[in-house]
């Protein structure tokens, strides 16, 4: 069984999406030129999610990747809701009041976000009312709190993450009279998701990370070569600080059982996550909710199962680590990706592949005949070769697709091997998960001219 190159391309490109920041007559005043994103599923259905949106009431753009586990419900909910929580956290008091008054009097709301979505990126219609009410309660509290201080992005990100996780937990405890919704909120709470979110506003780049997805900055050195700068820390057993933190938060007696086989309580790979109430609620609460819940939940062995050595919950938090970076002209792009990418590729390779892709055309020196003896035929050959080189880079119109092609198809020499690519993509569903994980990538391209002018 063998996939032809067009078949490979149609698989790779099925979920690709590109957004260019609108420009007027060749001029773009934003520090972001645009972004490319893509997903390649290994699970069926895929458990990764992605989001991108422009904040309309404040400046800035939000981009995020979300890696779900134990189902996709939590990742889906976070991908729909998190940016609203962040945007609301960033809003000044007057705007919050204005929005609240509009809702109160039934007027049209100011739009808060402009989403940039692939057609496959869906929003749950059924839960929108429920989600909206939770969000409204949040902004009402923010209005009551009115600190009067200008909103700090770092704080806003942390608050939004924590608040959303809290709402997910509460909604599951309260339940919903609608049985479909009731089941949905429970699935969201009992599944989990990591999140890696970037907020770009001018030269200020904030990355908030919870879990083991990763943000990486592509930097072009003076000699034209590419290097990678991490803008997030993985929250997993490989991160000593993270292991240290977990140990600090629990009695010494649990030290041995906290992290086993590089997993939290021997079960969970990421050390921070949304949802996963099994690692957050008390045993009593878990039992009460499961028993009063719908049958589907009650019959599910996973939800009924209580983690071993479960003494002092919560063991898990959704609180992100936030890194601020002031963009420089040499910072050309940002890659946000779930661990599916980072398992297969080193960040240095990622920086090089994306960097060369994005500058592919410009990298070639313009030809000048000068005093050389060149015939028309030679020049034609040279130009054809140059175009071929460019078009091989541009087989992909999307940097994220290009990266996935390398992640899945790279041979030992670091070049794409079509045979390997074909094999990897034609694996049957049940085998695919053994060889690769879901991969979700967003590549944000920065506008060096604008950044340089700051």
């Amino acid at each position: 069984f063998y996939l032809t190159p067009p078949q490979v391309n149609s698989i790779l490109k099925a979920n690709e999406y590109s957004f260019k920041v609108p420009e007027f007559d060749g001029k773009n005043v934003s520090s972001v030129l645009g972004f490319d994103s893509n997903q390649l599923p290994a699970n069926a259905p895929i458990e990764d999610r992605r989001s991108a949106a422009t904040c309309l009431q404040t400046r800035g753009m939000l981009l995020g990747v979300f890696d779900g586990h134990a189902g996709c419900a939590c990742a889906q909910a976070v991908s729909e809701r998190l940016f609203y929580y962040i945007a609301v956290s960033l809003l000044p008091h007057e705007t919050l009041l204005e929005i609240e008054n509009a809702v109160e009097s039934g007027r049209a709301l100011l739009p808060i976000l402009q989403w940039h979505k692939h057609p496959n990126d869906y929003f749950s219609k059924e839960a929108s009312k429920l989600y909206f009410n939770s969000l409204r309660t949040y902004w009402q509290e923010l209005i009551d709190l009115n600190s009067g201080e200008t909103t700090d992005v770092r704080e806003a990100l942390i608050n939004a993450f924590k608040r959303l996780d809290n709402d997910i937990s509460l909604e599951a405890q309260v339940g919903d009279p609608n049985s479909f919704l009731n089941y949905l909120v429970l699935r969201v709470a009992f599944s989990g998701a990591t999140a890696c979110v970037a907020h770009v506003d001018g030269v200020d780049l904030h990355v908030a990370n919870t879990g083991d997805s990763r943000a990486m900055l592509g930097v072009q050195e003076e000699d034209g070569s590419w290097s990678a700068v991490n803008l997030s820390y993985d929250h997993n057993a490989q991160n000593e600080h993270e292991v240290e933190r977990v140990k600090m938060e629990h009695p010494k007696s649990e030290e041995k059982s906290l992290v086993k086989q590089d997993r939290l309580l021997g079960l969970l790979m990421p050390f921070r996550a949304f949802g996963d109430v099994k690692f957050k609620w008390s045993i009593e609460l878990q039992k009460r909710v499961v028993e009063s819940g719908p049958d589907q939940l009650n019959d599910n062995e996973y939800t009924k199962f209580i983690p071993p050595n479960y003494y002092t919950p919560p063991y898990l938090t959704a609180e992100p680590e936030v890194i601020h970076h002031r963009l420089r002209p040499q910072d050309k792009f940002l890659v946000l990706a779930t661990d599916g990418l980072w398992e297969t590729m080193h960040r240095q390779d990622v920086a090089r592949i994306v960097g060369e892709y994005l500058t592919g055309v410009h990298h070639q020196q313009p030809i000048a005949v000068g005093g050389y003896k060149v015939t028309l035929g030679q020049m034609h050959g040279l130009l054809t070769e140059r175009r071929a080189r460019i078009s091989s880079v541009f087989e992909d119109q999307n940097a994220a697709t290009h990266l996935i092609r390398h992640a899945v198809g790279n041979n030992e020499f670091g070049t794409v091997d079509h045979e390997r690519l074909s094999k990897m993509l034609s694996l049957p569903e049940e085998l695919a998960r053994m060889y690769r994980d879901d991969i979700t990538i967003i590549v944000v391209q920065f506008n060096s001219h604008v950044i340089g002018a700051y």
């Binding site: 030809i367 005949v369 060149v374 015939t375 028309l376 034609h380």
Partner: protein
């Protein structure tokens, strides 16, 4: 290599130059721009100051001085012929689709041919001929159309087979060709030297030429040019000519009162090679391969080859100074597709060695036609620029026309298609120009089929009903920036996309427009005609009436509420405008003119109306939405909506009344339709437009109302023999020549412009006659469709060209309108055309080389149109009166 190239082109006999020619001998050895002392200071005044020493500026100077104007100063910011003129390819090509362009190129060719003899300056003129290649049948058709018009002009031209092409030019690969066109008299010149020769001749005739002198701006007082400010002082002058090429836009905007000259530069590349092993003969024809987007000429034993690529690079959008023109880079990657096309066309050139890739910016205009004429706002401010990369081909002829315009008040031919006043401020946005020229440059070599439209720079001016109509399937075209409906695609029906609908044969909208026409004939249709230019003229006393009586040929002293069709004529009796004027009150008039008259008509009236504060002229185009209700049931729809009787007894034809329609009051209703069909035009204050439209559509439902577009209108007006200004009528056509004597009141008790000329024509007869032709043996499904510009043959001899054509769904035949002349068989002199002359001929129309029999008529078929309910409703009953 670049420096050597410059030297090659500028190798010229300077010492022959007249000593009046300042600044040249001192600077010719240096290419730097450091200031050198100017030997002679500028004159304090002159009659004419020309800015720009390229081909256009020197040509204008040459022709003005030949016509006897001596007090002329030509200023050039750098050196003569140092801009685009120096770098351009030097091809003189007469194969142009538009008749006025063809005439200019033909004249240029003749002029350059004898220029060396006249001036002693070697111009490099070589008659090589040119071959235009066709890779497709459609391309061959377009070449055949050009060949037809060249032939009737007396310019040798033939359609040849690929094999014949290879005999003329052995390097051509003909495997993918279906045919070619050969124009043996096309030529090559060294373009900079042509310009220098013209300058030399002008200089001998007394023109002062000053190089290294920049014009900073032109001063205008009370609407007239008074002088020019330069970096070397001021020159007072009566006339200023802007020949600044790609800088013309900037220069136009530099003064206090901007003159809008819509053009924009694009980079243009061509390749120069070393000679072939066996150097190419300098008489080898130039090859144009439009499907490959390239041209190739012989150059110094090697070749010069460039083209018009699909993805042009516009530049200088923000405006730059001239120095940058020399720093433009070669861009081989950009040139690659053209190089591929070249090697595909001439594979034998593979081993030829490259000398240089030249980057030579050219300026382009929004409609691919050059810009000439006088500013509508500043009298004495003339322009000749925007040559769309054909500066050498047009330069001679264009300079002649402009000189005639300045000396005589108007050129010797109709140049309206090139007139600066076809544009207004609306075409001079930099963004618009940048986007439009990116479409225009590739269009140079794109196949142009009947009724093609520009795709960029659209949706600028729209009717308030635009979205409503668009949602109902409207397909749009554009006139003077205004979106107008071509036709409505019914729901569920799909038309071909733009590329696939290109055809010289029956178009895919044939049945759609047929249905709209049928509805106009049998029920009622609505056409949004808001784009028409609308002026109001009013006064406190009789000034408005008196002025209009003088400026218009028909009698406007009619009872209030009457509408008069009348021409706005020039001294020679020719139509400067053709309009309908309604007398709103004793002292105010409402005037409807074609869409593209907005600038021209305004300027014409402004310059001629007395300077009287009690007389006001207002452009109200934007204030009214116009809905044309065409058809026998229009009267029913309107009377139901207004509760007013609309029958002929109450609302006769050619009548205008303000009334209410639906809830909206103050709607100007006129019983005209611009088609000869019964109906009304409603002039609606724009805020009522949607309401009135909705009411009309709702009420019209029971009468079978539907939307229609301009294609239906065109079919209707052409089968009724209605002439349209800009298409059929121009400044060289009088009412007598198009059967409109009834629209002229020769004895209205006072003189009017053009009266004398008309009286003379009435006495002596006319020299051309507007005639209607019905194609007899033309198969609508199978044969090529006529467009306009097709030659007309009478008894086998050429007598004129068509000006418009349409399929008549009533006659089920094609109808062409055009002018018949009577050229003396021996001398070619124009003789009087009589009714008998028209009626006694056997006619043929030449469509792309194929002749179709045609029946000539001087009056429309009244008997065929029996659908009309009452004869007295006929709008132009005047036709039957004769």
């Amino acid at each position: 290599a670049a420096r050597m190239f410059l030297r090659l082109l500028s190798d010229i006999q300077w010492r022959a130059a007249n000593p009046k020619w300042r600044g040249i001998t001192s600077s010719r050895r240096s290419t730097s721009t450091t200031a050198e002392p100017h030997p002679v200071s500028l004159p304090a005044q002159a009659q004419v100051v020309i800015c720009g020493g390229g081909i256009t500026g020197t040509s204008v100077a040459y022709h003005l001085s030949k016509m006897g104007w001596k007090d002329i100063v030509l200023l050039e910011q750098g050196r003569l012929a140092a801009g685009t003129t120096r770098f351009c390819a030097g091809i003189v090509s007469t194969a142009r689709p538009m008749s006025i362009e063809l005439k200019m190129a033909h004249y240029s060719n003749k002029l350059y041919e004898q220029l060396e003899q006249e001036t002693g300056v070697p111009t490099g003129y070589t008659k090589t001929g040119s071959i235009s290649l066709a890779q497709t049948q459609d391309r061959l058709i377009s070449l055949k159309r050009i060949a037809s018009s060249l032939n009737v002009m007396g310019i040798p031209c033939e359609i040849i087979t690929p094999k014949e092409a290879v005999q003329l030019h052995p390097l051509i690969n003909i495997h993918d060709l279906v045919g070619a066109m050969y124009v043996p008299e096309d030529a090559l010149v060294t373009s900079a030297n042509v310009s220098l020769a013209l300058a030399t001749a002008a200089s001998r005739n007394g023109v002062q030429i000053h190089e290294r002198t920049s014009v900073s701006h032109v001063t205008v007082q009370k609407g007239r040019v008074t002088g020019v400010e330069t970096d070397r002082g001021r020159i007072q002058c009566q006339y200023f000519v802007n020949c600044a090429g790609q800088w013309a836009y900037e220069l136009g905007h530099s003064g206090e009162e901007p003159v809008h000259i819509p053009l924009h530069a694009c980079e243009h590349f061509y390749l120069l090679t070393h000679p072939l092993a066996e150097p190419l003969s300098s008489s080898l024809p130039t090859v144009v391969d439009p499907d490959g987007r390239i041209y190739v000429r012989n150059w110094q034993g090697g070749i010069l080859s460039g083209g018009f690529e699909k993805n042009p690079k516009p530049l200088f959008t923000e405006g730059r100074n001239q120095l940058e023109i020399q720093n433009l880079q070669e861009d081989w990657d950009h040139f690659a597709p053209l190089l591929s096309a070249l090697l595909r066309r001439m594979p034998g050139l593979e081993a030829l060695q490259i000398m240089q890739l030249v980057n030579c910016p050219e300026s382009f205009t929004p409609d691919m036609r050059c810009i000439m004429g006088e500013s509508p706002t500043a009298q004495g401010y003339f322009v000749l620029a925007g040559m769309n990369s054909a500066g050498i081909s047009y330069g001679g002829g264009a300079g002649k026309y402009l000189a005639e315009w300045m000396v005589n008040g108007y050129p010797s031919d109709n140049v309206w298609p090139l007139d600066l006043k076809r544009f207004g401020t609306l075409q001079s946005s930099r963004t618009f120009l940048r986007h439009r020229v990116m479409e225009v440059m590739p269009l140079m070599y794109d196949l142009k089929v009947p009724r093609w439209d520009f795709q960029t720079g659209r949706q600028l001016r729209t009717s308030p009903l635009y979205d409503r109509l668009d949602a109902q399937g409207a397909r749009w075209m554009e006139k003077h920036g205004f979106e107008r409906v071509k036709y409505f695609v019914p729901p569920g029906k799909d038309l071909l996309d733009l590329d696939h609908s290109k055809t010289f044969y029956k178009p895919d909208w044939f049945d759609i427009v047929g249905a709209e026409v049928k509805c106009c004939k049998e029920a009622v249709c609505v056409i949004d005609m808001s784009s028409f230019t609308k002026f109001e003229i009013s006064s406190t006393g009789d000034q408005a009436l008196e002025s209009l009586q003088y400026l218009f040929s028909n009698d406007l002293d009619v009872p209030v509420g009457h509408v008069v069709h009348t021409g706005m004529l020039n001294e020679k009796g020719g139509y400067e405008n053709d309009c309908s004027i309604a007398r709103l009150s004793k002292r105010s008039f409402f005037m409807i003119s074609p869409t593209d008259q907005q600038v021209h008509c305004w300027a014409w009236l402004k310059n001629r109306l007395p300077d009287d504060s009690n007389l006001t002229l207002e452009d109200v185009t934007w204030k009214y939405t116009a809905l044309n209700l065409i058809g026998p049931r229009a009267v029913d729809v309107l009377s139901e909506l207004s509760y007013a009787p609309m029958t002929a007894e109450h609302f006769p034809s050619l009548f205008c009344k303000e009334m209410s329609v639906g809830y909206a009051n103050g709607i100007r209703v006129m019983s005209i339709t611009h088609t000869g069909e019964p109906g009304f035009v409603l002039y609606i204050p724009i805020e009522y437009a949607l309401h009135v439209y909705n009411e009309v559509m709702n009420m019209g439902q029971k009468y079978g109302i539907r939307n229609a577009g301009y294609y239906a209108l065109r079919s209707l007006r052409i089968e009724k023999f209605f002439a349209f200004w800009g298409q059929d009528l121009d400044a060289f056509t009088t009412p007598m020549e198009c059967g409109r004597e009834f629209q002229v009141k020769l004895e209205k008790g006072m003189d009017f412009v053009g009266q004398e000329a008309l009286l003379e024509q009435k006495q002596n007869g006319v020299y051309k006659r507007f005639t209607m032709f019905i194609l007899e043996d033309h198969d609508t499904d199978m044969d090529l469709w006529p467009w306009w510009g097709e030659p007309i043959f009478r008894n086998g001899r050429y007598v004129g060209k068509t000006t418009s054509s349409a399929y008549s769904y009533t006659l089920e035949r094609h109808v062409c309108l055009g002018f018949v002349h009577n050229f003396d068989e021996k001398t070619g002199e124009e003789l009087v055309v009589t009714t008998d002359f028209i009626n006694q001929g056997e006619y043929e129309i030449d469509i792309a080389g194929q002749r179709f029999q045609a029946k000539a008529k001087l009056y429309p078929f009244s008997s065929l149109f029996t659908q009309r309910r009452r004869k007295d409703e006929v709008e132009l009953s005047g036709y039957q009166r004769e």
